[in-house]
Amino acid sequence: MNTTTQAAMDAVEPLSFDEALEAFEPVMGFEVHVELNTATKMFSSAPNAFGDEPNTNVNEVDLGMPGTLPAVNGKAVESAIKLGLALNCSIAEHCRFARKQYFYPDTPKNWQTSQYDEPIAFDGHLDVELDDGEIFRVDIERAHMEEDAGKLTHAGTSGRIQGADYSLVDYNRAGVPLIEIVTKPITGAGKRAPEIARAYVSAIRDIVKGLDISDARMERGNVRCDANVSLMRRGAEVFGTRSETKNVNSMRAVEHAVTYEIRRHAGILSAGGSIVQETRHWKEDTRTTSSGRPKSDADDYRYFPEPDLVPIVTTTEWVEALRAELPEPPAQRRRRLREAWGYSEAEFRDVIAAGLLDEIEETVGQGASPAVARKWWMGEISRLANARGVDPAALGVEPVTIVELNRLIEGGTVNDKIARQVLEHHVDGEGAPADIVRNRGLEVVSDDGALTAAVEKAMAENPDVVEKVKGGKLKAIGALIGPVMKETRGQADAGKVKEIVLQTLGMDS
């Protein structure tokens, strides 16, 4: 590649997004890698675990030692079939693994065991829901099985690859099962391209989470995205040259990377330049990409069928049994629940954003009304969790506890305020709500003697209020409730207080 030309192209100012879209139509393509949450690796029985001491989750297979034999993880294969089905793919009746040869220290074998011309799943589609509810269909080319690579740390002067003195390798991640999902070229996205990109990756994450085949934590690299972008002049019929931005690993970053690449390509093409087919690095801090390396004969991976592994044959019975295990698709489930619960769009969006859909569904399933379930999870539980720096779902509140608490409120045993205190005591490990109420003596004071005494005291101390009430201003009773609550440590029932005041004044009837 002519580096002078590259430098010149990099110096071209990107167009604004709107200008870019006036002249060009974007075409996108995504390669999403999903790390599976199996207990063991793809081809060895070493643990698939995150965050352990370096090189302690490996055995002789992961280290590519001579004479070792890989063995396929059956659960990983079933996960791949399930994902293929969830993406509306055809499942291959017969498929094989292949060796993808390259020399780089992240793989000790000098090849990555992958699938090449025989992916386990192919020709699918995914209907992606955009922010306004519109559905955009993304066609899926294939989903294939492969293994992850080890993790390199580049030591030395710069910390980046360039200029590093040496690299340190941890092979704990080597051999972790991966499924790579490749889309067909996505056309017709127009100005919604960045939004579609984000929604697509988000939908993939939801699906693998729903299938429970991946932890789906993007910040840990469980779901990783490479974004391909090219532009066609409006009216053109041939795709332009694409760039591939590697490892765009958050939903927001995917949206920004696509936006930036559209603007960058448009700038270069409008200035009469041409796009170099190359990989690009995403830079989170500046929200831009930088040149990686051009496509070249280095991409000659000399694939051949893996002789150490036998083919996989899928029967209709097997595939249909796995299909029967599939959960309801996430987008469909969300639509169903929103309608069933009667939440407003904003309310529902907040629930999704808080990640409390499962909790609320379960709470409703235990007998709480959707409104009550939402009130507790989005209210007090979220507040407590936030104060303690944990996720609401991780606070340890069981749906049945919410139902019990609500029963105590509806039965008049406690009021809302006391119920919130009971919840906090519950989170602190004091047991079931009813026990907490009993042990701490938190029942609403409803025995007339104690309550009447408290009301009489409040009336004696506030004669002016009593006069107003006598004069027919029933709202003034509110001013007596505070003192009564104080006297009863908050355990009085406001309705009951009002009743007693009116009785005492002979105004009940």
Binding site: T38, A39, T40, S44, S45, A46, P47, P54, N55, T56, V58, N59, L63, A71, V72, N73, G74, K75, A76, H94, Y102, F103, Y104, P105, D106, Q112, D148, A149, L152, T153, H154, I161, G163, A164, D165, Y166, S167, L168, V169, Y171, R173, L178, G221, R224, K246, N247, R293, S296, D297, A298, D299, Y301, R302, E306, P307, L309, V310, P311, I312, V313
Partner: protein, 113 residues
């Protein structure tokens, strides 16, 4: 005889990161041609109706249960490493991304993050 050119061998050597002298390249080109010719005979024996095979045994679906087996300690993992640091394998510097066209510069699947 099959034509394996010197340029073919040079390309393969680059991909495999093997430094070869001119003499070695010439020698290897002719030797590889002989090897390819020998293997080619299989094509003569196998007709159109014989599917390509990657395994000598008529086996399919050999799967392992997803149960954790034995695992190395860091010391065992690194026992035969030429060099190590911080419980990790120490390897030579990665060549500069934009000068070397070989796969050594490829941040492969999740390699760099």
């Amino acid at each position: 005889m099959s034509e394996i050119s010197r340029a073919d061998v040079e390309h393969l050597a680059t991909l495999a990161h093997i430094a070869m002298t001119d003499a070695e390249l010439e020698k290897m080109a002719s030797e590889l041609a002989v090897i390819v010719d020998s293997v080619k005979r299989v094509q003569e024996a196998a007709g159109e109706d014989v599917p390509a095979t990657s395994h000598p045994l008529p086996l399919t679906n050999v799967f392992r249960e997803d149960i954790v087996g034995h695992v190395f300690t860091a010391e065992e993992s690194l026992a035969s490493a030429p060099d190590a640091e911080d419980s990790r394998f120490k390897v030579p510097a990665i060549l500069s991304e934009d000068h070397d066209a070989g796969p050594s510069s490829v941040p492969h699947e999740g390699g760099e993050r």
